[in-house]
Amino acid sequence: METSLPWIILLSPLASAVLILLFAHRSKPLSVLLSLTAVFAAFGSTLLLFSSHSVVQTSATWIDLGPALHLTIGLKIDALTRVMLLVVTGIGALVHVYSTVYMAEDDGKARFFGSLSLFMFSMLGIVLADNLAMMFIFWELVGVSSFLLIGHWFTKPSAAKAANKAFLANRVGDFGFMSGILLVWAATGSVEFAGIQENLAKLTVNPSLLTLAGLCLFCGAVGKSAQVPLHVWLPDAMEGPTPVSALIHAATMVAAGVYMLARIFFILEPSPVALGVIAAVGAVTAVLAALMATQQDDIKRILAYSTLSQLGLMVAGIGVGAWGASMFHLFTHAFFKALLFLGSGAVIHALHHEQNIWKMGGLRRTMPKTFITFVIGTLALTGTPGLAGFFSKDAILLAAWHKSAFIFGAALFTSLLTAYYMTRLVVVAFFGEAWTPNAKHGHDCPPAMTVPLMILAVLSVISGYKFFAGSIFGEELFHSVHAAEHVSLVPILAVSVFSIGTAGAWFLYNGRSKDPVKIPLFRNKFYIDELYASLIAGTQDLLASFSSWFDHFILDGVIVRGISGLTWGVGYTLRLLQFSNLQGYAFLFGTGVVILFYMLIK
C-alpha cells in the first residue's frame, strides 16, 4: 500500500490529462469531473501518506547501461517531499475547485483542465523524483504545461508572446541545469540523490568543479524561480488565467527552484562561493522586484513582483544555509500568495476583467468576503505578528543575521517594501470610493470561489504555528527550520519595518484617486525588458550582418566567384598565346621538340 500511494499521486493527474486531451475534450463537465477526481485522488493519497513518517522509496529501472549509467524512474517520499506534496495537491485541489467557476464561460474550459492536470502530473513528478535525470524531465514538462496555460488565451497576441517569453527564459536556465546534472554525474558517477550523497563523501575531486556544478544547477532554479537576470518572464506570465497564476506562478512551479536547491543542498554546502552567489542573486532579486512592485498599477502584476521578491528571499535563505527556513517560507508563502491571487481573481471576475487598481476602489463594501480574506493574505505576506508570514520571514531573517549583514539588510528592506506595496494595493483597491462606475458593481463570487479563499485564509493564519507546520514538516525537518539561534532584536526590527511600511503607504494613499508618487525607473521595471530587447536585437543584427557579409564575400565571393574567376583568368592569359601565325606555331612546336630531345639526351 505504501509503495503504491506515490504512484497513485503521480499517475492519476496523468491519466486525467490523457483522457481529457484525447477523449473528453468535447465535453466540458466530463473534463472538469476527470480533472477534479484526479486532483482529489492525489490530495487524498498525500494525506494518507502522512499516516506514517518513514521514508518510502520505490523505483523501476528505465535505462541500464551497466555501472556507468543506471537510470531509474524512482519515487522518494521523505519529510521534504511530504511538505511539497501537501502544498502542490492541496492548493492544486482548491485552485481546481475555484477554476470550475472562474473558467465557466470559457470556450477552452476542457483544454484548460487538461493542461491543469498535465501540470499537476509534471509538478508532482519534480517533487517525487529521486534522481536528477527524472527531475529534469519533469522540470521540462512543467515548462511545457506552464507554456500551455500562460498561452491559454492564445488568440490574444500578448498572451501568446508571454507564453513564448516564459518558455524561452526557462530554456536558458534549463540549459544550465542540464550542464549541472552532467557535471554532477561526471564527478560522482550517479544522478540519484542517495547515490550522489554517498559518493560525495568519499570524493576527492577538485572543489571548484563542485562549485561549478552547484552554480549550473542553480541556473535551473534561476530560470524556474524567476531570479535576476531571468526574472522577466514571470510578470508577463500574468497574461494567463488567474487560477493558473495562483497555482503555477505563485505557489508551486516557481517554488520548484527553491525546492530543488533544498534537495541538492548537500552538493552546495561544501562550496562557500556557490552559496555566496546564490545568496547575492536572491537578495538582489528580492530588493529589485520589491522596488518594481511599488509602482505597478495592475493588481496581478503587483502580486507577480511580490512573488518574485519573496522567491528572492527564499533563495537568499538557501544561500545563507538556512534551507529549512526557506522551505518553511515556501510553505507559508504558497498559502497566502495563492490566496492573494485567487482574491485578485475574484475581483477581476466581478469587475469584468478590470485589472487596474486605480479603476477599482471601495470594494470593501461590495465584496466583503473577498475583502476580508484578501486583507488576511496581505497581513500574512507583509509579516504581521501572529500570522504565517511573520514566522517564516523571521526564520530567514534570523539565519541571515548570523551569516551576512548585506543579506540581512536586503531582506529587511524587502520586508519594508512588501508592507508598503501591499498596503498600497489594498488601500487603493478596497478602501476609498469607487473610482469608476464599473467598480460600483462589485459583488462577491459564488461559493466555489469564496470557499477556497476562506480555507486559504485560515491556512494563512495557522500555517506558521508549530502545531500545524510542525506536524506537516515532521520533527526533524521542523527542527532545521529554526536551526538559527534566536536573537530578540530581529523580530523587533521586522515588526518595526512592517509598521513603517504599512503606515507610510496608508498615509500616502488613503483617499487618493491618483498615484501621488511617480518613479518612472520602478514603474518601467528598471528598463530591464528594454535592455534585453535592445541587447537581443543588437546581437541579432550583428549576427545577421556578419552572416550576410560571410555569404556575400566568403561563399559567393571567394568560393563561387573565386573559382570561376580563376578559370576565366587562366583562360584569358593563355588566349594571349594565340598570335595567328602558323609558322610561329610551327616554330614554337619545333623548338619545343628540340628542347625536349635535348633534355632527354642530356
Binding site: Q578, F579, S580, N581, L582, Q583, A586
Partner: protein, 108 residues
C-alpha cells in the same frame, strides 16, 4: 668498295629536312607548306633506309626492319596527304584563299 658512306646519306637527308623546314617556316602558301612537310617526312625516310642499309648483322645481311617501316610510313603519308589536301580544298571553298595570314579567326 662503295665510295658512299652512311655520312653522305645522312648529310643528304639533313639537307632535305632543312629545306623542308625552311619552306614550312618561310612560305605563306598552304600548298607549298604542305609540300615542304612531305619533304621533311621523306628526309626522315631517307635516313631510315640509310641506317637500315648500313647496319649489317652477324650473318652479313643488312637489317630490313627499318625498310619495312618506311613502306608503312609512305602508305600512311599517302592517306594523310589525301586528308590534308581535302582540308585545304574545303578551306579554299570557304575562304577563297590559301594564304596562311588570311586564316586567323581562331586568334584571340
Amino acid at each position: 668498295m662503295n665510295p658512299l658512306t652512311l655520312n653522305h646519306y645522312l648529310l643528304a637527308s639533313g639537307l632535305l629536312f632543312s629545306l623542308g623546314f625552311a619552306g614550312v617556316m618561310l612560305r605563306r602558301n598552304i600548298i607549298t607548306i604542305f609540300m615542304c612537310l612531305e619533304l621533311m617526312l621523306n628526309a626522315a625516310n631517307l635516313s631510315l633506309v640509310a641506317f637500315s642499309r648500313f647496319h649489317v648483322g652477324a650473318d652479313g645481311l643488312p637489317n630490313y626492319n627499318a625498310q619495312v617501316l618506311v613502306f608503312f610510313i609512305i602508305t600512311v603519308a599517302a592517306a594523310e596527304v589525301a586528308v590534308g589536301l581535302a582540308i585545304i580544298v574545303a578551306l579554299y571553298r570557304a575562304r577563297q584563299t590559301t594564304h596562311v595570314e588570311d586564316i586567323q579567326s581562331l586568334k584571340f
